[in-house]
Each structure stands twice: as structure tokens, then as C-alpha cells.
């Protein structure tokens, strides 16, 4: 039984090869249709796989954010009064000791009232308190231009040297009418002044071109906002080129979770089941498009081939044998299309990543894993089976005498 099935499949393969040699148009069109459908599916599945596995974080120079577990991702950009981390100076020192870490700093985000230098009116500036080190960039502002370390912290006594150093973005400088080298007055009972070290245009990670933002030393911000008790901050920023740091960070601090700046959207997507929905949509589209291609073209192929099938029926081939041959031919063509589709899909993934890199600065939004190749072949097989129904029906309704007359 198995030997006969193998022989019939062999006959089908030989007929397909013969057709490719003699009249390849319809076979190649079927193959192309499946290849495109499968290629699209592989590419889209690669994107959803990338989103699901947060492949977007797999780029060099990534920043990890350790945030309270129950805070949402938006708190990375703006946090006011949400859950906070404690004892953050000690923690950041501990993190700095890891040789893989470029720098680590707590980040406290607060809205700070300041005085317009010209009108004297009160205005609010989103302020990030950090412990600057070489290369530290927060909210797109070069915090490394602040005096390194956190002099006012004084090992937790908050009586060290007050620097008053701040770096503003354009929007903050504009709303407060200050420039680099000038002072900025706080609107509080301390009546302290801040020294504007620089006005930066900000980078891609800035909190927004129209949002007034400034960066200052963490301890000074803590003292201004009453966050010295418990040494709290909203999150810890860890900058590294080593992706293995993430696994070190995860679970290291109870009640925290680790995300990346570029992974923010990915995390949102992951939690919304979008990757699965995208993958299912790609699967359904591939099957529908593939089956339509294969059914139409193989139906025409079988119609054109009725005389040969009629001759086989006249010889004594049963309907079941002929159906097996036709179905096997359809599946063979579909699977060949699927194999070509893997190549198309890889090209699609490459193209998507290139496009994402150019448009959004992301290194990788889609990934190809070997399992996708197996998946593509299985789906192509399913397309072949479903697509064979009509050609088999066409072959079975042929009347031998009519065909041979």
C-alpha cells in the first residue's frame, strides 16, 4: 500500500517535472503564487516573532530601565507621584561596579516650578534628577556636562556641596527666557537659584521638542521635592553595550521589571497579543491567496491534461489512484512554491529591517528563525491539500470515453 502510494507520488513528481520542461507557464504561475503568499507570511511572521521576542532591544548601545514592576511604560518618560524605587544611590553604585555597564544612574522625574527670568511668572519644567557620569544622557540631554557624581548627596546626609547645575532643553530655555551661563530662580521657600550650564537641542530620546525639560543632580532634586527620605527615584537607567546585562538585572531587585527605551513599543505590543494576531492574519492570508492561486491554475492544468488522465483511466487506473496523482502534483507544486517562499520571506525580513533602520533607527524589527522555514513548508503543504480539492474534482468528472473520442 505504502509502496504503491510512493509510486503514485513518484508518477506525480515525474509529471510535474515533465510539465515544467514542456509547458511550464501554469506550473510556474502556481509556484509563484504560493511563493509570494508564503513569502509574505514568513516576512510578517518574522515581524510578529520580532515583536513577541522584543527583538528590537537586540541592538548595541541599548539602555535598560529598571522600573517598579507595577508602573507602566509611560512612566519612563514622565513619572509624577507613581511607584518609586528606594535606596537608589547605593543601587546605582552597585550597578556601576559591573564592568559591562557603561554607566548607571537613578532617575527622579518631577515637575519643578521656576521663575521666568524676564516676566517673573511661575512656570513648570519637567526635571530629571540623575547621578551623572561620563556619557550619561537622559531624556536626550547630555547630563555628563554636570559635575560628575552627586556632591550634595554626601553619603546620604544631603549636606554636601550644592552645585545648582542644570542643563535645559530649548523649550525649557524658551519658557524661562534663560541662556547658558545665566541663573534660573526656583519658586519655593528655599529661593535657591540654579546655574544653567548648557542649553541643549536634545536628542531622539528627548521628552519632546515642546516640553520644557531640564536635568540636574539627583540629590539636589530630591532635596527640592522632598524625596530624600528613603532615597527614592522613579527608575534606574543602565547603559551598556552588552545584552547579557538584561538577564543580570532581571530579578535582581524585588518588585522591579526591566525594559528598554526602544523596547517600550515592543513591550506594549507583546502585552496586547498583537504579534499573535498579526501571525494568524498572515497565516490566513497566505492560505487563502495560496489556495486560490493553486486551485485556479491547477484546475486549468488538469482540464488541459484530461486526455492523459483519460488514457490512464482507460488503462485501468482507478479514480482513487488518479485523485492521488493529481493531489500529489498539487501538493508538490505548492511545497516547491513554499520553499521558494522561504527565500522571498527572508528577503522581506531583510527589507523590513532595512526600512525600519532607515525610518525609525531600529536595528531589527523582524527576525528569521529556522522554525519559520518548517512552518512555511507545513503551510505550503496545507495550501497544496486544500488547493487540490478542485483539481481532483475536475479529474474525477472527466468521462473516459468522451475524453478519448
Amino acid at each position: 500500500m505504502l509502496g504503491r502510494l510512493r509510486a503514485l507520488v513518484g508518477l506525480a513528481v515525474a509529471r510535474v517535472i515533465g510539465r515544467v520542461r514542456i509547458a511550464p507557464q501554469r506550473v510556474l504561475l502556481s509556484l509563484l503564487g504560493v511563493a509570494l503568499a508564503i513569502g509574505l507570511m514568513v516576512a510578517v511572521s518574522g515581524v510578529s516573532l520580532g515583536l513577541a521576542s522584543e527583538s528590537v532591544i537586540e541592538s548595541e548601545g541599548v539602555d535598560y530601565w529598571v522600573v517598579p514592576e507595577q508602573s507602566n511604560v509611560e512612566s519612563i518618560a514622565v513619572s509624577a507621584g507613581g511607584l518609586q524605587l528606594g535606596d537608589v544611590h547605593a543601587t546605582s553604585v552597585e550597578l556601576q561596579q559591573d564592568s559591562r555597564v557603561d554607566y548607571a544612574t537613578p532617575v527622579l522625574l518631577e515637575l519643578v516650578p521656576v521663575q521666568d527670568r524676564v516676566t517673573g511668572e511661575r512656570t513648570y519644567v519637567l526635571t530629571a534628577g540623575v547621578v551623572p557620569a561620563e556619557g550619561t544622557t537622559v531624556l536626550g540631554l547630555p547630563a555628563s556636562e554636570l559635575e560628575p557624581g552627586d556632591p550634595y548627596y554626601g553619603n546620604g546626609s544631603y549636606n554636601g556641596t550644592w552645585t545648582g547645575e542644570v542643563i535645559l532643553n530649548d523649550a525649557a530655555a524658551s519658557v524661562t527666557n534663560v541662556s547658558a551661563g545665566e541663573s534660573l530662580s526656583l519658586v519655593d521657600e528655599t529661593n535657591r537659584t540654579l546655574n544653567v550650564m548648557n542649553v541643549s537641542t536634545g536628542g531622539s530620546g528627548t521628552a519632546g521638542g515642546t516640553v520644557p525639560v531640564m536635568v540636574m543632580h539627583l540629590a539636589e532634586l530630591q532635596s527640592l521635592t522632598g524625596a530624600t527620605n528613603g532615597d527614592t527615584a522613579d527608575q534606574l537607567l543602565v547603559s551598556t553595550n552588552d545584552r547579557s546585562v538584561r538577564s543580570s538585572l532581571e530579578g535582581r531587585y524585588a518588585g522591579t521589571t526591566v525594559v528598554t527605551r526602544s523596547g517600550i513599543s515592543a513591550q506594549q505590543v507583546s502585552s496586547s497579543n498583537l504579534p499573535l494576531a498579526v501571525a494568524v492574519a498572515a497565516f490566513v492570508s497566505a492560505v487563502v491567496v495560496g489556495v486560490l492561486f493553486v486551485t485556479t491554475l491547477m484546475g486549468l492544468e488538469v482540464s488541459a491534461d484530461r486526455q492523459q488522465l483519460g488514457a490512464l483511466a482507460a488503462i485501468g487506473y482507478s479514480s482513487r489512484s488518479l485523485s492521488t496523482v493529481v493531489a500529489a502534483e498539487t501538493v508538490v507544486i505548492s511545497v516547491l512554491g513554499g520553499v521558494c517562499g522561504i527565500g522571498v520571506g527572508i528577503l522581506g525580513i531583510f527589507g523590513a529591517n532595512t526600512l525600519a533602520g532607515r525610518l525609525f533607527g531600529l536595528d531589527s524589527i523582524a527576525i528569521f528563525q529556522p522554525v519559520l522555514a518548517g512552518y512555511a513548508v507545513v503551510v505550503a503543504f496545507v495550501i497544496g491539500l486544500l488547493g487540490a480539492i478542485y483539481p481532483v474534482w475536475v479529474s474525477r468528472r472527466s468521462d473516459v470515453v468522451e475524453v478519448l473520442s
Binding site: 515525474a14 517535472i17 515533465g18 488514457a311 488503462i315 487506473y317 489512484s321 473516459v400 478519448l404
Partner: protein, 247 residues
């Protein structure tokens, strides 16, 4: 037979390989009813009260002008079609008792068919074409190849076993078709205009092979070609579906 569901029940023992009694084959003109067809469409009687008996070692010709019913009678005698009326046995089996599948199995085992246009599969070698009936009959690959090569040698094509039909002349293709018809060693070979597409020299060779095939079986040959009819032991003359001479 490898497929028990397709086995042919043998109902009688007779000297004749093919025996038809008062055969009638009618076709309805304008469809068989249904949504668009008329249920009382007029019928055409393609074969009208024809009785034949063809025995082993006989080469019987069927002659007649176009539309006389040659092909229809040949299709009936080959088991490709069933009579509307009358009684037909092939190798002792009553055709009317068989399902479509069983008729297929009967043809595979008992009837070898040679077509005017050869109907070889273009993508297969001569050997694979000859082996096609053996594949359906469930023979293993080795014996299939062996038998196909033996038959191709018998029809004078031992050096063409690996050639595709497109690489063979018309005469050679028809010889491959004859080898295919003989693959399961059938009791009956039917040939429909076997020389119709061949030159006279190739036609002679094909006819020789068919006559030789009748050594241990019956051969029925439908043809317009007098050269073909001349090699027959007897000829059934048809006109308007009825036997008008010969026998």
C-alpha cells in the same frame, strides 16, 4: 490484483474472450435531463442489435465509414463503456454486473488498449510508460522495470528504454503503446486506428506486432485503413450502428 475492492467477479467460463449478444448503445441528444437538459431528449442509437464473439488467437477488424459506430463498439468490447441493452461478457465476466471501479480493474487485468494518438505520458521514459499498468496493478519497482524492458525488446526498442516520447518517432511511440498494452499480459488487446497517424512502413511494423500479440490472446482492431484490415482473420462491417457484412 492488489486492490481487493476492485476485484472482478468471474461469472462464466466460455471459449470466447469477448461475447456480445444483441448489443445496443444509445446516447441521448441534448443532455441527460437535469436543470438545463430535457428529460425527453431524443436518443441516438450508435450501436443497434450487434452480436459478436471473439476468441483467443483471433485478430478481428471492425470497419465502416465515419459515424458507423466503430469506436462505440470498440469502447464496449474494451469495457470502457457499457451497453444500454444486450449482454456483454469480457473474459467470462458480465460487464453489466460491474461497478465503474471493477470495470477499471477488469481492463487493467484483461484488456490492453492501443490508441490512435498513442497517449503516452510525455514526461516519462518509454520504460516508465510501459510500466504504468504494472504500477497500478501494484507490482514492485524492480519487476516493473524488468517487465517493461522485456516488452520494449519484444517490440524492437531495446535501445530506447530511457527515451521520452518526444524523442521517438510516431512508429516508435505506437510500439511503446503496444508494449504498454501487453504489460499485464491481457487476454484481449483492442486497438483504435493504430496506424492512423503512421506512415505505411511504421504501420506495417505495428500491425505485425498486433498480429503476433494474438498468439495467445484476442486482438480487435478498428480501422479505416484497408492495409490494417487485410491482416485481420475476419472483419465486422458496420453501417449506422448495425452489422452489414463480414463476421
Amino acid at each position: 490484483m492488489s486492490d481487493s475492492a476492485g476485484e472482478v467477479p468471474s461469472t462464466s467460463e466460455t471459449d470466447a474472450i469477448v461475447e456480445g449478444d444483441a448489443l445496443v448503445r444509445e446516447y441521448s441528444r441534448g443532455g441527460s435531463g437535469g436543470v438545463f437538459g430535457s428529460t425527453d431528449a431524443p436518443t441516438v442509437r450508435a450501436i443497434d442489435d450487434v452480436s459478436v464473439a471473439i476468441e483467443r488467437n483471433e485478430v478481428v477488424g471492425i470497419a465502416g465509414p465515419s459515424g458507423s459506430g466503430k469506436s462505440t463498439l470498440l469502447h464496449l468490447l474494451a469495457g470502457l463503456d457499457i451497453p444500454t441493452d444486450g449482454h456483454l461478457t469480457i473474459d467470462g465476466t458480465d460487464i453489466a454486473t460491474l461497478s465503474t471501479r471493477q470495470r477499471g480493474a477488469l481492463r487493467l487485468e484483461t484488456v490492453g488498449i492501443v490508441f490512435q494518438r498513442f497517449h503516452l505520458l510525455d514526461s516519462l521514459s518509454a520504460r516508465a510508460n510501459v510500466a504504468l499498468p504494472l504500477l497500478e496493478a501494484g507490482h514492485a519497482k524492480g519487476p516493473r522495470r524488468e517487465r517493461a524492458e522485456e516488452l520494449l525488446s519484444a517490440v524492437g526498442l531495446p535501445d530506447r528504454v530511457g527515451h521520452k516520447p518526444g524523442q521517438l518517432s510516431g512508429g516508435e511511440q505506437q510500439r511503446v503503446a503496444i508494449a504498454r498494452a501487453l504489460a499485464t499480459d491481457p487476454a484481449l488487446v483492442v486497438a483504435d486506428e493504430p496506424t492512423g497517424e503512421l506512415d505505411s512502413e511504421s504501420g506495417d511494423r505495428v500491425l505485425d506486432l498486433l498480429v503476433n500479440a494474438a498468439d495467445d490472446r484476442a486482438v480487435i482492431l478498428a480501422s479505416h485503413d484497408q492495409q490494417a484490415l487485410d491482416v485481420c482473420d475476419r472483419v465486422i462491417q458496420l453501417r449506422d450502428g448495425q452489422v452489414v457484412g463480414g463476421q
